[in-house]
Symmetry: D2
Amino acid sequence: MPDPVAVIGLGNMGLPIAANLLAAGFPLVVYNRTEERARPLVTKGAALARSPAEAGGRARIVFTMVADDLALDAVVGGERGLLAGLTPGGIHVGMSTVEPATSRRLADAHRAHGSHYVAAPVFGRPETAEQGKLYVIAAGPAAALEAARPALQVLSRGIAHVGDDPGQANLVKLTGNFLLLVMLEALGEAFAFVEKAGLDRLAVLDTLNGALFTSPVYHANGERMCRGAFRPAGFQMALGLKDVRLILRTADRLGVPMPAASLAHDHLLSAVARGNGDLDWTAVSEVLREAAGLTPAWARLGSPSAT
Amino acid sequence: MPDPVAVIGLGNMGLPIAANLLAAGFPLVVYNRTEERARPLVTKGAALARSPAEAGGRARIVFTMVADDLALDAVVGGERGLLAGLTPGGIHVGMSTVEPATSRRLADAHRAHGSHYVAAPVFGRPETAEQGKLYVIAAGPAAALEAARPALQVLSRGIAHVGDDPGQANLVKLTGNFLLLVMLEALGEAFAFVEKAGLDRLAVLDTLNGALFTSPVYHANGERMCRGAFRPAGFQMALGLKDVRLILRTADRLGVPMPAASLAHDHLLSAVARGNGDLDWTAVSEVLREAAGLTPAWARLGSPSAT
Amino acid sequence: MPDPVAVIGLGNMGLPIAANLLAAGFPLVVYNRTEERARPLVTKGAALARSPAEAGGRARIVFTMVADDLALDAVVGGERGLLAGLTPGGIHVGMSTVEPATSRRLADAHRAHGSHYVAAPVFGRPETAEQGKLYVIAAGPAAALEAARPALQVLSRGIAHVGDDPGQANLVKLTGNFLLLVMLEALGEAFAFVEKAGLDRLAVLDTLNGALFTSPVYHANGERMCRGAFRPAGFQMALGLKDVRLILRTADRLGVPMPAASLAHDHLLSAVARGNGDLDWTAVSEVLREAAGLTPAWARLGSPSAT
Amino acid sequence: MPDPVAVIGLGNMGLPIAANLLAAGFPLVVYNRTEERARPLVTKGAALARSPAEAGGRARIVFTMVADDLALDAVVGGERGLLAGLTPGGIHVGMSTVEPATSRRLADAHRAHGSHYVAAPVFGRPETAEQGKLYVIAAGPAAALEAARPALQVLSRGIAHVGDDPGQANLVKLTGNFLLLVMLEALGEAFAFVEKAGLDRLAVLDTLNGALFTSPVYHANGERMCRGAFRPAGFQMALGLKDVRLILRTADRLGVPMPAASLAHDHLLSAVARGNGDLDWTAVSEVLREAAGLTPAWARLGSPSAT
């Protein structure tokens, strides 16, 4: 039987991850701030921890999937935190999208504690997590990653090991989100352009994706924009805004101007400022449609900005 | 034996297009401003026309592949121009990337003349043209396109018929170039970001393209940037600048702000203003590397700006 | 008695200019496409010309104040145009804001004709024109400017002679409009910032203008924004958009990226695309307020976009 | 004799401020991290404190003028910090440009301590401080400001009281720096434009400032750009970058997109990334000149980027 694993953070992503580990036969310990969310897993055999420390004490490998840098720090530190319970030699696999600097800080703390930190942020939406088809960008000590690999393989269709310094995984993950975000900005501008020219947006997308990109990611996001299928969100605008803030902050520290990131930031910020933070991030198209004098779809979706 | 076809404009794209038509057995008439360029085709059996009018008089289907809107107007109008020689019922297939408004003007002129205009701009670089693997975006009267299809099939791996109004093909083509250009901008910013963070750019590209886009276009352009393989150009920065000007002008008329296009415009303009217009347009990455305090590759390529 | 002068173009600016010349005792010939507009001047003693050519034939100095480059070309050329009537040695003073290239073309045409061209675009709104307090930016042959100076002094509080090449006056004028436009953009962003922070916009403006700029232009435009006094316009957004297009086109030719001009262009374009082109250009503040989640004033002004 | 005052932080701004207070007859206590800087003041009669706490214990009104938010927090907190020594009823006047949130935090700490916090950031360069001609933007409890007014009057040509919440003064100060920064961006773009058009930059500045802004701030900064007088700096690019970061962070929290601030940020960041952080912030013009293909002045100034 495999070693027990723990999952801390049972949100839209953490819950299917935990469920898949359980279904694959891993003895599972779970922790969530509101215990409610853990109920269905406990019913199926997972053990419930009352604190991150307890979760750390009962598993050799602990996955965390929490909202942001602050939440991650909160789960790790303090007297009820993961580090307080994790046995030396234990492995913490941080799957949240956070700043590289946060990962480096955590890696130091684990080193001092005699445990290991692997950053392993993922690409994929909740449905992808359910299907066990996430894509894992991992960085950290090779041995620790190897120990975690069997569990990660259950969750994913691919695992890239991008370096020994955990912060590198976050950098690569942020870079990926940046490329996606600029793709959304480009599609949004392109769609406003062809729509005002009287062309069918989806037909243009199919033509151009066929002629050029042949990318399922262009197709899926472009189609979502054209259909205006912004609710429920696969990835919320508010989360996209969080990520572009991390990108801009990291770029600022590195001394790299990223004007396309600033552009995308401003459009997400505007959408969120107008009460649309819960829509899918493809709805950035509506900011661009409105700028072109078209009626944004959120006026029809009944979000707060429309009242 | 198929009807004779003519090709006007034997530049980097027109020459391989004409050669492929000839090799496929089409009786071929060619015209180029400087006759030199036509020599190898004439050796292989093409007939040389002394004016666009003459080319139009000797072929039922005439392809034009010239530099820009001005050159296209010049080839069509005037007493030695295509329209002066083309027989009623003849078909003009314009393959240049021009403004939609230019195509509409030409379509009107052809209609008045009793001939037909099909806009058929293509995606692909000179190598792609040589391989007969262009992608054709066509718009115009269906019957005229059908008549031209056998020849277009020789040149291409795909033909999309996007509408009856020829201007629509140019719109779709410009939209495609816009999406490509923003992809280049995004890759350029992303690469400056990961380079300053100490990561290997090509490895990050491979990881992210594998995890997300799975697009040969991301791969090929990103790799070119990483290798600094900017000369000889597949597609020159100066031509990219020409196209983004067409995009911005068309968007301005349509009332569509396209800030990502303005961003890309400014970076191409800066590269061209510094004497790098002959480099491949992927060299936009060097504008972004320089902005981040890295040394641009063109300092090594010995372009005018480096002297 | 002074030489007769002519004014061609009796719009919001041309009419008060003509009226002031008449009031100052200049024998006046006027021409306007719709004669209606000339009526009040004729009543007061102005002679009515039936064509620009006739106006040119009856005056030694001819002022033109028309909408744009196209209108200026139309007034000058053709068989009823100014050049057809202007006597050799005559002086054409072009006061419209046009591209430098247009002025250079006109200067050549006048040289060939034996007449002189002075570009003399002005700063000031219709009220300023009424008060005879425009500011003239003039370029062209010194002798021609001297001949026109007595008339220009009636109209203005200052005349700057910026060069012999008429295009230079247009360049300086466009530069001034660019600086104004970026000031409006900056004020608009600043006001959205302080408004959302709960501060009084006008008080902040007064404080900062007092502490820093001490500029009546900051005060007047900022106050207009704060009061939402966008109709009637002093200078319409649609005209501001025209000017920023000239700036961007000229900058593009010169090889100068001007990202702040692109930014302002996009915001004006968006306002115009949404039906607000007739508002004063200070209403660019409303594009920025809306982006920040505030309700733009044009929703209250009953412009087309609000219906 | 007036109450004793203290000055903490004897940098380029703090030193002349302290000197002026001493010269005006205020009994003065000074503290600086490196005591060296205090020497000339001590020679003239100032008392030297060995810690912020000691300075706070010996004066009723304490001015702080330190580098940034972090330095301000460091000076106030901790066992040797200002709050540890300041007597109840004491007044802390914070003159640094910091985030509004920092001021609010300090105000809370003072309230809890029984003392008062006034935020009083200033406009002006070191020379202006020497001349006692700063402009003070103050916010905080009216009584505390009144107590500090006699000292502030020695330092300044104007004092604006913008609110009771100290954060408001920082907001207004940041807004002012934003307007200045966008003015610099606009002047820089305009100068590249006219320089490439062959005009004399300074002459154009004089003409346009005379015709439009009539602002000494436009004149002084524009002239500095034209002369390339970037060293020694009046206000360093690195400090401008710090301030635009505060602006963007505050705007992000408020939900206000500020694209012109992002633009200026990117240009300052680029200059700093290339080793020019110690130049005067008007040198942002050189980023824009270089983008237009002109040789930036820093290549002549021998800064690190030129090696």
